[in-house]
Symmetry: C2
Subunit: 422 residues, 2 copies
């Protein structure tokens, strides 16, 4: 039974229909990194297997970050005084251009990977820069961390500074080289990454679609984040019925290949229907959308349409890598959306948001985000003894409170695919 381990403690996850499930003092049997399920009593056949007992601590699926930018971690928490397009030109593009220098990239990515490892995130979908070498170097470091990630070499061949733009043919060639070299990793996967319509010519988009058809790789991009951006896309792709249609026209909007679009703050009815129809995932990034004044995404409408929604930290539009912070923000902005924008969009509960941060985004990685039998065993062990006080809440309330007050708790351990990486 070498490949079996038993984890004991108080387990919390969500069912497929977004109900919170609490199993206290229970056992999770993990075989070859896969959950065999949760048991109130340990079945006799596992009697000899090693047990790690986390006592009265809280155990939840490790969190899934569906959207973040590794090279922007250097300035997280800075430059929050502009809207998207100005923000990109003032802070983001000049910083990302520095990753051409591999020594800079290596030092910066060490810091990013260390921070991501120490965070509550077990899996992430990540933007690199346009630089193939630097992005492969990021993947090497992530591979060693034990995290599971998708990483994209970014494509941009227009509307970008001279020192941070590719020629179209070169962008496509480098993408093919990137994909080929990246296939050597075991837990770090390549993903096609056209930055967004404004920085990608029609020809580049068609070329990326051809690569996707040949390789079956997933794709990530940005969608309907900011009003000026949306107006600009209308000018750039006049045939598109709406922003998302501009991706669809070029064959890069879900369908057979998994696709995640970040933001969708201003997605209208047609765009929502198309995303549902094409199976597009949405990365909801409330801190970023709030910091750079984009607005509040209509998450209730997305969920009602059957769209799979996960959370994204979107560093450095988001100021924190913590998906706990993102969960609190997701509940909060849903309250404000209901109160100030549309009383039809019922608020999100913390349980629904916890679902998004686990199963919702986890589905992008396969069977990830719960302790159900057959799911990969990703877990956080949280010590909430800092919250011990006068009130003894029932397990569900105790758990939900730890999500609100993560900064008053300790992350005691983290598992990804059954491996303890923290």
């Amino acid at each position: 039974m070498d490949n079996i381990q038993i984890i004991k403690g108080n387990f919390f996850d969500c069912s497929q229909d977004m109900e919170l499930r609490a199993r206290t003092g229970a056992y999770c049997v993990v075989k070859d990194g896969i959950s065999e399920g949760i048991f109130d009593e340990l079945p006799e056949k596992y009697a000899g297997a090693p047990v790690t007992d986390y006592g009265d601590m809280l155990i939840m699926p490790a969190l899934v970050d569906l959207h973040t930018h590794a090279p922007q971690y250097t300035f997280h928490g800075m430059g929050m005084d502009l809207e998207l397009l100005e923000w990109l030109n003032t802070y983001t593009f000049p910083e990302e251009a520095r990753y051409r220098d591999l020594e800079y990239a290596s030092q910066a990515y060490d810091i990013f990977v260390d921070a991501l490892t120490r965070s509550g995130t077990g899996r992430a979908v990540i933007f690199g820069t346009i630089h193939t070498e630097a992005t492969l170097l990021l993947m090497e470091k992530l591979e060693k961390s034990g995290l599971v990630t998708y990483v994209g070499k970014v494509n941009m061949d227009r509307n970008s500074p001279d020192n941070y733009r590719e020629e179209t043919a070169q962008s496509l060639r480098e993408t093919e080289r990137f994909v080929e070299e990246a296939l050597s990793f075991r837990s770090t996967f390549p993903i096609l990454t056209p930055r967004f319509i404004p920085t990608c010519s029609d020809e580049l988009m068609r070329g990326l679609s051809a690569i996707q058809k040949r390789t079956g790789l997933p794709a990530q991009s940005h969608l309907s984040e900011n009003r000026s951006e949306i107006e600009w896309v209308k000018e750039l792709v006049p045939d598109a019925a709406f922003y998302g249609d501009a991706y669809d026209i070029f064959g890069l909007f879900g369908g057979e290949c998994r696709t995640v679009m970040a933001h969708c703050v201003s997605s209208g009815k047609e765009e929502i229907e198309r995303m549902a129809q094409k199976g597009v995932f949405v990365a909801h990034c409330p801190n970023s959308n709030t910091n750079i004044s984009s607005g509040i995404a209509p998450v209730r409408k997305l969920l009602d349409a059957g769209i799979r929604v996960g959370l994204g930290s979107d560093v450095a539009g988001g100021h924190s890598l913590s998906l706990f912070d993102e969960m609190v923000s997701a509940v909060q902005v849903s309250n404000l959306r209901w109160r100030c924008i549309d009383q039809n969009d019922r608020q999100l509960s913390m349980t629904e948001v916890f679902y998004m941060a686990t199963r919702g985004g986890g589905e992008f990685f396969g069977k990830v985000g719960s302790f159900d039998r057959g799911y990969e065993f990703d877990a956080l062990v949280v010590d909430d003894c800092g919250l011990a006080g006068m009130i003894k809440p029932d397990p569900a309330h105790r758990f939900l409170r730890s999500l609100y007050l993560s900064h008053e708790c300790l992350l005691a351990a983290k598992y990804v695919k059954g491996n303890k990486i923290l």
Copy 2:
């Protein structure tokens, strides 16, 4: 020179006109707990005085919490699924009723005072419960902590549960007894605290006003937080032109006595004008207003009207005692207000919000919230070494970043009135 101490480090505070001021590698001379000002070179006459050198750390005024509820700390981070009036009846009143038991109160207030002491808050304006003894006990504990606070025994004689309501005469008698006994403290001051119009009869309000006229004590209450509450106040005080006028009718709305009103989410033009005219302080509580779906206060309009605005954690409507969290939230909701509600209400910058958390609220306490000569020396020493990375921002950006990312920094020391209390 026994009463002189010198603090060395990088100082950040705001000028009266809300500009951020950075003085790196400078000296603050503190005499009898009062700042003599900041000096780039130490004046010769202080050559013999003891110097505490905080090296490259960041030193800022300790933060001022203009509105929080001590008895609600027991359930901070819980019960965020209701709006105000339901939330009061479901979570708040039953919990506050428990403070009739002095043993419970003593244990709970120990936890609260310890948490407040460990936080970035140096001064606070605090609601207790209706219980005189428990509130005096809270004040005893605060007095020992070194913090400077105003604390109110709450008044409520209607629309409250049977086990958490006073008779009118008894409420007034107990308030007088509370005030008399509380005057023995040196850094912990009584403040009149009618909970809000719905729980205070006309007779109670008139009685409290009479006490205020006799004692000159300041007052605190809630104003225009939630829509149902506002409708209710219209029914309860039909003569009032607007919610704030209901306080004014009874003589409890600023003027000669300092008064702070929490929330003001739905304050209209008339109410804002009246507050400006009467010198009422506003405690802006963005996390609370967001958590319990109240909305976004028109802070830009309040500032433009010349109203003095500070920040309030409003635990447990707010989930955290941290005013750093509150600062981030204040900037964020101002972005959303501008984007989603009123493009005339320009966003608040982090510098403006930092002003509110220091000088803005500090004015309620006198000369508090800056390092200007003559101001009481309240300070936080923040170690931001966790943010060291690839980018070396200038001092102002480095400082503002530490406010966004307080959870990645350490609070190395805290001074109130020149005393090191942490």
